[in-house]
Each structure stands twice: as C-alpha cells, then as structure tokens.
Amino acid sequence: MIQIQNLHKSFGPLQVLKGVNLDFPATASGASGITAILGPNGSGKTTLIKCILGMVIPSEGEIFVKDQRVKGNWSYRHNIGYLPQIARFPENLSVQELLDFIQDLRGTGGQPEPLIQRFGLEPFLTKRLGHLSGGTRQKVNLVLAFMYDCPLLILDEPTAGLDPVALIQLKALLKEEKAKGKHILITTHIMDFVEDMADEIVFLLEGNIHFRGRPDFLKKQYQSRKLENAIACLLQKMPAPSGGGVAILED
C-alpha cells in the first residue's frame, strides 16, 4: 500500500526526517489495520503524513502509494481519504454545499448520507460553515474524510473537539473501516485512543523510526499497564526492566 524509502526532509537548516524507511504492505497480513504514528512534538509526524499526501516535497527519498510514485503525481490521491488537523472551511458555504463541492472535485462514488446520520449533522446541512462550533466542524471534517471508499485513510488528530457520543461513533466507524481491510494512519496525542484502536505503533523520534510494533508488546517490555507510561519510558530512552532490551527497530 505505502512504501517509503530513505525519506529525508529539511526545512532550511532544520532536518526533520532523516532517512525514514517504512512499508505498509497491501495484503492484510498483520500490518494492515490501524497504525498510530506517535512521537513528541517536532518529531516529524505531520511532515511524514504530509509527504505521503504530497503536500510536503521530500528533500530525498521516494514514496509510493499503491505502486504509484507520489512525486509530481496527483491521481494517486484518489486512494486516500484525509482528515486535516484543523477543520476550517469557506465560511460562507453551507455544509451541504461543501459536501457537494468535494464530490464535484473527486467525482462520483461519495456517500456522505450514512455519515451525516451517524454524526447527527442533518440539522446543520443548510447552515453556513462559519456559524458552526468547532466540534460540529470536526464532524463535517470526518464526513469529508470517510465519505469515499478509499483503501487508505490518513487522520491527523481525529478526536480533536469531539463530544463523547461522537467519539464513540468515530471508534465504531474506524473498526468498520478496518474490517473492510483498509489501512488507517492516525496521529494523536491521546494515548487512551491509541490503546483502544491501534494495531500497531510507529514511534518517531528525532526524524527517525525509533520503535515499530504492537502496543501490548511495548507495554510488556516496560511492564506498564498503561500505554502512556510505556511511551513516556520510551521517550526518555529508559532501558526496559524486563531484561531483554527494548524492541527498538532502528530502520
């Protein structure tokens, strides 16, 4: 599905990604499902995601999505549903007009209705986007990201501003999408959400992959009941108490 080869990215003197190699195979053999991309602030999570989406142009290295080269290409994005971190839309359009707009851009096949129902957006369809609350805008954002049947979903902080009901709906939706065999990449700082949802963690530190593996494996390594604590230990580069050393995959 995604192959990232020796990805480097610098912004001026600041090196954000330093030779990232990552492979999400297209088959449903373990690596498919929900992958949480974690890391401290400035570790390169957003840059990595934006490189996959073609928003940030890599300084070096190659990315392929469904065997299509990302560089200089745009049609591969038919395979991607993206949820940006900040939900801001043209203020004078209504929700329905925005949905029509994106469908106009992407072509037929979008199915927003079940999602509108799921997130209870019917009363807001005719309202202007500038008049909506942050949480409602995030729901619209979710509808836009999920309404196409894309094999790859990239979600940047999907839980931001959601009320508990919508959060439960989002979790259910993610499970359904996963069951369809989709790849879902998520960045978030909410470790409970990662613990609940993620099949795999990719932990970025200083522009490189520091750990890749299952969340329970990480917890076991650090003998921690909570993922949050295990991640904190990982962040401080503490040795694992279980003796065998931390399963750090320095790619």
């Binding site: 912004f11 591969y76 043209p90 106009d104």
Partner: protein, 260 residues
C-alpha cells in the same frame, strides 16, 4: 480549476465584504452623478478613485483570502487535483468576485442614469475594464506575496508596500528622475518606465480614450505623441494583460515548489 473557481467565487460573493465594497461604489457613483450631472466628469472622477482603490482592495483581499483559506487549502491539496488548479481557481475566484462588485457598484447607477443611451458608454466601458484589470493584477500580486510568505504580518506588510510603491512611490521616483535629468531627452525613458507600473498604464489607457492626454502631464503627452491613440491603447492594454499573466505564472511556479 473551474470547480475551485466556482466555489471560491460563490463563497466570496456571499461575504459581507463583497457587499460593502459594491455598496461603496454604488453610493459614491450615485453621489457623483447627483452632484455633477456630467457623465464625462463623473467618469474622470471615478477614474481617480478606481486607480487607487481597486489595487488597494484587491491587494488586501488577496492577502486576507489566502491566509484565511490556508487550512482549507490543506484539505484541497489532499484531493486528487493539481496544485495549480487550486491556487489559480482561488485567485480567479477572488479577482472575479471583486470585479463583479465593481461592475455592479458602478454599473447600476450609470445604467439608472441612462448610460446606454449616451455617447459616454465607451469611456465608461474603458473605466470598468481598467477596474477589472487592476483587480486581477493586484490580487494576483497579493496572492503571490502571500504564497511566498508564511508569516501573516510579513505578507500583509509586503503587500501594502507593493501597493504603496505602485500607487505613490513609483511616480514620485519617476518624477524626481525626470526633474534631475531634465536636460536630457527623456521621452522614451518615461514611456518605458510607465510600462512597469500597472496603475500608470491604466491611467494612460483611460486618458488616451478620453482624449485628454495633456491632462496627465508629461508621460501622457509623449505617449500620445509617439504612438497615437490606437497604438498607445493597444500597447498599454497588452502590457496590462502581461501584468496578469506574469503573476499568474509566478503563483503556479511557487505553488508547485512549496511545502504546505
């Protein structure tokens, strides 16, 4: 590109600012028509307003619109469309909505006054055409400046400096140069220098049409003397169009290489 253009245009046309902008022109034109009762004089008065205001408003709106839609652009960039389609669509949507506000604001009072039965219709059309060209040119320049500068304050500052340069400073510098080198033949220099300023070009275009080029002083007089009305208008119009094409191309060049 047309799809982005369509939605940017509709979004902007519904904005309060488009309405205020159109209402200003509407009230101002009605006021002038009511006070002077002479269409030709009103066209000249409006020319002076348009030459300053259209570039200023297009510059401000251009920068503001880019920064306001910054997050939405990220969503658009993740869609299967070309980068140039996004930014050209937004740019043309903005310029077209500003132009429509101008056309409505000026057009309705003149139409009510009976411009269609008047001989001034051609002069009025040139005035509108100039307003539209200036809106396109300066919103393009502003979009380019905003694209190049991630910092809002810096972008706003540079855009205002660009407007100030073309609206005020450029003429001042040109005049100083002409005064300083007045012993030399400077006609060609003056004409050449005017080509680099879209506001000067618009002024030349309107005044050549109104056939009162002596009123605009040195540059206008030599412009008409050297080229005559026909060639002068053709030349200034072509260079004005070039002023749209070059920033438009620059927007694409920057957008294709930029990290978002």
């Amino acid at each position: 590109m047309f799809k982005i253009f369509k939605y940017s245009f509709f979004d902007l046309m519904r904005s309060r600012w488009s309405l205020i902008y159109a209402a200003f022109y509407f009230l101002f034109t009605i006021g002038l028509l009511w006070l002077s009762n002479d269409l030709s004089k009103v066209v000249i008065s409006l020319m002076n307003v348009i030459l300053i205001l259209c570039p200023l408003i297009a510059t401000m709106f251009g920068v503001m619109y880019y920064y306001n839609s910054r997050e939405f652009v990220e969503l658009l960039l993740a869609q299967p469309i070309r980068r140039s389609a996004i930014f050209w669509g937004q740019y043309f949507g903005l310029a077209a909505s500003l132009s429509l506000s101008l056309v409505i604001g000026l057009g309705v009072p003149f139409a009510m006054y009976g411009i269609f039965q008047s001989a001034e219709i051609f002069n009025f059309s040139i005035l509108i055409l100039n307003g539209i060209l200036l809106s396109f040119i300066f919103s393009g320049v502003a979009f380019f400046i905003a694209l190049r500068n991630e910092q809002k304050i810096r972008g706003f500052g540079l855009a205002i400096v660009a407007w100030l340069f073309f609206a005020v400073i450029y003429d001042g510098l040109l005049l100083l140069a002409l005064m300083y080198f007045r012993d030399y033949p400077l006609e060609r220099l003056a004409i050449g220098a005017s080509l680099f300023n879209p506001i000067d070009l618009s002024r030349i275009l309107i005044l050549l049409k109104l056939d009162i080029s002596a009123l605009m002083g040195y540059t206008g007089a030599v412009f008409q003397k050297f080229m005559g009305t026909g060639i002068g208008m053709f030349l200034s119009l072509s260079v004005l169009l070039l002023w749209i094409v070059v920033p438009g191309w620059a927007i694409r060049w920057v957008a294709d290489r930029k990290d978002f």
